[in-house]
Amino acid sequence: MAGLELLSDQGYRVDGRRAGELRKIQARMGVFAQADGSAYIEQGNTKALAVVYGPHEIRGSRARALPDRALVNCQYSSATFSTGERKRRPHGDRKSCEMGLQLRQTFEAAILTQLHPRSQIDIYVLQADGGTYAACVNAATLAVLDAGIPMRDFVCACSAGFVDGTALADLSHVEEAAGGPQLALALLPASGQIALLEMDARLHEDHLERVLEAAAQAARDVHTLLDRVVRQHVREASILLGD
């Protein structure tokens, strides 16, 4: 769109947020009763649903079993009606496969796989409006916690971009489509360790630190929110159990 300012002179973005401000996040754990763990998260207009089954025995060929740790299996699919133009195949295309591999890499770093023979994580995105990877990781973290699978730490993710000398946190679809540099970061907040870092488009290395710091701060803010959601869920569960 010609003339669309991603950052106005007063420092406001297209949707009225400030540079470091996140979109509204709402989340819920335990959405489905039959799965071992499930969670739903809404970040702005992006809605992601994550479902976890496991740890259970290896399905299919036993040769894939690892003798000392669990196998983490991720599938990413997005609903055909989620994007503006209807998508023909929900999963199996290259982008979904790549996203599945990235999610797998992220969660293998966080889950204590030595304790279990096998886990499987399936992640589903319902509607996309930018920040898909971040919403998926956040939803998956909550789902893995809901399933009771032990993790080293929360995994909180956020995207970041760089416009007019300012680092923007939590990009929406409009900002992603504008074609500037984008960084996706998955962080383990307590230790500050990075589980996954991905950057697209060109960015001068002098600016990298600022963008990385913006993304890390946003991920820590997400962690505060997710922590609150988990505590609320546990409180509700213990009330129902009558403790």
Partner: protein, 288 residues
């Protein structure tokens, strides 16, 4: 389909209960579980609906796109169905595992809509032989708790009721098509005659409506009956590996018609009530 393994004792328990018109959760043979319906849950579709029937969770999105009418029906638009059995329902649906079930359900949906009266397709025509609206109805199966066909048909009906297609104006003689100026100017589909599927599972000597996964494991044969709100049967199909007596088929069909009429009446009242709350109502979605 997702299945549970039951022991012989559990199966006998269920079968004996059904003979006495008392199912495991206390329902009678013709009672549905509590159904939750919500429309307009996905914002960038023309219409959407979410249905929760016990543990079965379905999400339907309808997207309207412009296309060319089919050669044999130049004055009508058409519907395309696609069913995605997502891996979140059961790990067996990962990759291509859910394709078989998805195709079976999509073919059933095509069959029940394959008659002149279900949906008035002439309202979807823009200009004959050149442009028409194609409604892509995408069904997403999120959780499988038994009785998929019923839940999916209820969700499809609710989503079609919620569908709003923008009105186009085309000037006479010119090929240009423009959107009308008013953004709220829409075509709504009439869903009076859209059928719903009622699945009747034969357990022992009796049949039950709305079977759970455990009850489906005890039943050898089922009958799918597609019924409109007036009690007209548009399609009927027997599924399952067992065989059915001709008399049972007639009995099951009568039950299906009776139950279907009640189902339609409740669904109509609920979606109308939801619509009367207006666009400012609180949308719950998965957060509630």
């Amino acid at each position: 389909m997702a299945s549970v393994t039951l022991s012989e004792a559990e199966k006998v328990y269920i079968v004996h209960g059904v003979q006495e018109d008392l199912r495991v959760d206390g329902r009678g043979c013709e009672d549905y579980r509590c159904v939750e319906v919500e429309t307009d849950v996905v914002s960038n579709t023309s219409g959407s609906a979410r249905v929760k029937l016990g543990h079965t969770d379905i999400l339907v999105g309808v997207k309207a796109e412009m296309g060319t009418p089919k050669l044999e029906k130049p004055n009508e638009g058409y519907l395309e169905f696609f069913v995605d059995c997502s891996a979140s329902a059961t790990p067996e649906f990962e990759g291509r595992g859910g394709d078989d079930l998805g195709t079976e359900i999509a073919n059933t949906l095509y069959r029940i809509f394959n008659n002149k009266s279900s949906v008035d397709l002439k309202t979807l025509c823009i200009s004959p032989r050149e442009h028409c609206w194609v409604l892509y109805v995408d069904v997403l199966l999120l959780e499988c708790g038994g009785n998929l066909f019923d839940a999916i048909s209820i969700a499809v009906k609710a989503a079609l009721f919620n569908t709003r297609v923008r009105v186009l104006e085309d000037e006479e003689g010119s090929k240009d098509i423009e959107l009308s100026d008013d953004p709220y100017d829409c075509i709504r589909l009439s869903v009076e005659n859209v059928p719903c599927i009622v699945t009747l599972c034969k357990i022992g000597y009796r049949h039950v409506v709305d079977a759970t996964l455990q009850e489906e494991a005890c039943s050898l044969a089922s009958l799918l009956v597609s019924v409109t709100s007036k009690g007209v049967v548009t399609c009927m199909r027997k599924v399952g590996k067992g065989s059915l007596d001709p008399e049972s088929i007639f009995e099951m069909m009568e039950t299906g018609k009776r139950v279907g009429k009640v189902l339609h009446a409740s669904l109509q009242s609920v979606v109308h009530k939801e619509e009367s709350l207006g666009p400012k109502r609180q949308k719950v979605g998965f957060l509630g």
